[in-house]
Symmetry: C2
Subunit: 140 residues, 2 copies
Amino acid sequence: MNLPIGELARRTGVKVPTIRFYEQIGLIDAPPRTEGNQRRYGKTEVDRLNFIRHARELGFEVDHIRELLAMSQEPQASCHQADSIAKSHLREVDRRIEKLQALRVELARMVDECGHGRICDCRIIEVLADHGQCTAEHVS
Amino acid sequence: MNLPIGELARRTGVKVPTIRFYEQIGLIDAPPRTEGNQRRYGKTEVDRLNFIRHARELGFEVDHIRELLAMSQEPQASCHQADSIAKSHLREVDRRIEKLQALRVELARMVDECGHGRICDCRIIEVLADHGQCTAEHVS
DNA sequence: CTAGAATCTCTAGCCACTATAGGATCAAGA
DNA sequence: TCTTGATCCTATAGTGGCTAGAGATTCTAG
């Protein structure tokens, strides 16, 4: 393998500066270098970065990814912890969806009621100025 | 009125350091000060901060809030711009909801299929390691 | 007058990157 | 061998929208 960082980036979809950043925060190990001080990666790093990218896409925080990665290194351990991380993340996603849907209702109503006239008659500005005009509970 | 910053915070639900921060970034004007250099606010600022807080709760970015505030100062102008800001924000919220719902599907499936055994059999770890196992299109 | 709550400024930290500057190295072709 | 241009290196600073802390000052009620 012996991939330079750009090739690793291409294969995993993680940008070059982000890979270096991940190394800096200890999410991936520092790889060996060429004589000219350039990083060279192997298959392990491809897998690991794919794992990281996928977990990030699913919205897991870096600290949780750290734990998940550590777990994946211990195949015989119980997956209870992984389960609980994923479950709590799922709950968090549910909360966000709910909140965004409440926002959506308010926004849609604002936009809908806008008469496209002048500012002084505009429901958008009016509603923003007065939370009391909101019907939905859009505040966490 | 002549409210100290803490009282303004209490009345608007915006925290004291945040009010100072908003002043720093020019979202609100620097108010008059007492002889001892403490800020004193009037009704205008209560309204303006309520507007800002509400818009933030609805997820508007500070730069958009800046524009919306400027508009609310010109009651005779057309509300076309306010409408377009709100509409594009609504679209953005829709995009986020869709994305989160796709994530939710994947997460729920992962959690659901976890047999609560060992890491090596765990669907959570397995799916994270291999995007190909995802059914839904959870990427942007 | 005093005590303690509230205020002040300034700096740094949060998250997960992204951007930029100013060099060094690598690989392929002439 | 030399050159060219793509890729790589480090280091620092910036993003958004705040939040936290230190250490000093001011306000207000008793």
